[in-house]
């Protein structure tokens, strides 16, 4: 009896400690960013492009990187969705009884999921060299799209698998084709699509390695797909490398901006997910 009670208490304590560790480090990270970033957080930071060359200067802001990051992450997520939704639908609804094929594809996407982003960056760079594209917004979007596709496919795949098979049986029994059935399934998974968008966008906007060679960097806001684009993670990287304390502080302010953008996307997607789940059959 005593041994069982001890065991119970031991593991409960372990769980509590682990939870404290995780939430504690979350607050520490946010705290650090706030503590070091807020003093440098000026209106100029989010409304102006850098004043003194390559992020190193103390003047101006990081508007170029904010816009660049939104373009890259947004573009990659949208492009990724257009590719991933058909893949996820195909794996789940068109392979019929060929489960081995579906599972093989899932393993392939799991492997892609695990590949470090620098590899996507390098691969994207090779594609760009092949097509003669220079470091640009387009290059960045392509590389980051490659990075987020496995995330999107696997998330959407999991979501589609939660759709009751009977829903598909219902539309098929009405004489619907597979594609018509797929459209109903897509409606049903809309809340899950927003979760997928959130995961993809979060990964895309925070990744440095994939945009390092592909998007390039610039002090200006890109006005076409062929111009180089700055991104927030790279801006943070450069600013942190500066010996000047003030520029380092601006790195934390940039990190704060990045965190806030991710926070907004998180809230937005969960609101939308909730709104679109009201029609669902469970």
């Amino acid at each position: 009896m005593i041994r069982r009670k001890l065991e119970e208490n031991f593991f409960r304590t372990l769980m509590i400690l682990a939870t404290i560790l995780v939430t504690g480090s979350f607050f520490l990270i946010v705290g650090t960013i706030l503590y070091r970033g807020v003093p440098f957080m000026t209106w100029d930071m989010i409304s102006k492009i850098p004043g003194g060359g390559f992020y190193i200067g103390k003047e101006g802001g990081v508007l170029n990187a904010i816009i660049g990051s939104l373009y890259v992450a947004g573009g990659a997520t949208v492009l990724g969705l257009f590719i991933s939704i058909p893949v996820a639908i195909y794996i789940n609804m068109y392979l019929g009884g060929r489960i081995w094929l579906a599972n093989g594809l899932r393993i392939a996407f799991d492997v892609l999921f695990g590949i470090p982003s620098i590899v996507y960056g390098a691969f994207g760079f090779l594609i760009m060299v092949y097509f003669g594209i220079r470091a640009s917004l387009l290059g960045g979007i392509v590389a980051v799209t490659l990075l987020v596709i496995p995330i999107l496919v696997r998330t959407l795949d999991e979501v589609i698998r939660t759709v009751p098979k009977e829903l598909g049986d219902a539309t098929l029994s009405l004489g619907a084709t597979r594609w018509e059935t797929a459209k109903v399934v897509i409606r049903q998974i809309r809340p899950g699509v927003f979760t997928a968008i959130l995961l993809s966008f979060g990964r895309a906007i925070g990744d440095v390695a994939s945009v390092l060679f592909t998007a390039g960097f610039s002090d200006n806001i890109p006005t076409s797909l062929h111009q180089p684009a700055a991104t927030l993670p790279l801006a943070i990287f450069f600013q942190l490398g500066s010996p000047v304390a003030e520029v380092q502080g601006r790195a934390y302010a940039s990190a704060l901006i990045l965190t806030i953008i991710v926070l907004i996307i998180t809230i937005l997607s969960s609101i939308l997910a909730k709104r679109f789940s009201k029609n669902n059959s469970r």
Partner: protein
């Protein structure tokens, strides 16, 4: 009773993996009658039902042999148009699965995919089918509300109305009342009795009382084979086969 079959199953066998689910099933299902398929869990009742509108097509490692004639057309013929076959048969599953859209759109869904676009026509179909399933007075003021807002019993009637909207000839019910409360169950049962004037109805059920109440004929399936097929009274009160007798008396389940 077999001189006017609506569905004629001939030597149907279904294998999934290495397991034989249905063995050499042959049966004629009469026109505009209610036929119940009864039998213990796992005997193949649902597989038999789903083989009638080819819903088994996407099952992994499945092998179907034999023929199923609906209106004289073999639905397992390689040239058969599967959407056309399925349109003839409305399916009512164990639990209601309304489509993720409004009450109105649920019913209009079928007619729309088959090409009906005119609002006036759709309005009329929606009203007719909601009236046929006794839902009209309950939902006429909130046709644009999500279908999921309805109670489970109402949802099941909505699913029936959705199926009827594509003008099928046959209704397939797969334990359609098993998730419902007693009141909703009896509403659905009454609907089946009413609907048999216009439709051939095939029901899978494990409730003998229900089979007795609604059906004209009963098929008793055991271990993938049809043991006995006959008029309801005969199967339930005076079965010819020993196995049927044991099942209806509750010795085997």
């Amino acid at each position: 009773m077999t001189n006017n079959p609506h569905i004629s199953v001939q030597n149907l066998s279904v294998e999934i993996g290495n397991q034989q689910i249905l063995k050499d099933i042959s049966i004629n299902i009469p026109n505009k009658k209610v036929v119940s398929i009864i039998g213990p869990s796992g005997c193949g009742k649902t597989t038999l039902l789903k083989s009638l509108n080819r819903l088994l097509d996407d099952t992994a490692e499945i092998k179907v042999t034999g023929k199923v004639f609906v209106d004289g057309e073999n639905i397992y013929d390689p040239n058969a148009e599967v959407t056309h076959i399925r349109k003839k048969m409305g399916l009512l599953s164990q639990r209601p699965y309304p489509l993720p859209m409004s009450i109105y759109d649920n019913i209009a869904y079928g007619p729309r995919i088959h090409g009906t676009r005119k609002k006036v026509v759709l309005d009329e179909i929606v009203e007719t089918q909601l009236k046929a399933t006794g839902l009209w007075n309950e939902v006429k003021d909130r046709l644009n509300a999500p279908a999921t807002r309805l109670s489970i019993g109402q949802q099941q009637r909505l699913c029936l109305a959705r199926g009827l909207a594509v003008e099928p000839e046959i209704i397939l019910g797969d334990e359609s009342t098993s998730a419902l409360d007693p009141v909703s169950t009896s509403i659905i049962e009454d609907l089946f009795i009413k609907l048999k004037e216009k439709y051939t109805i095939v029901l899978v059920t494990h409730i003998l009382r229900q089979a007795r109440r609604v059906s004209d004929y009963i098929i008793f399936v055991y271990m993938g084979k049809i043991i006995e097929f006959g008029p309801t009274e005969e199967i339930l009160l005076d079965p010819k086969q020993e196995l049927t007798r044991e099942y209806v008396k509750g010795y085997i389940s």
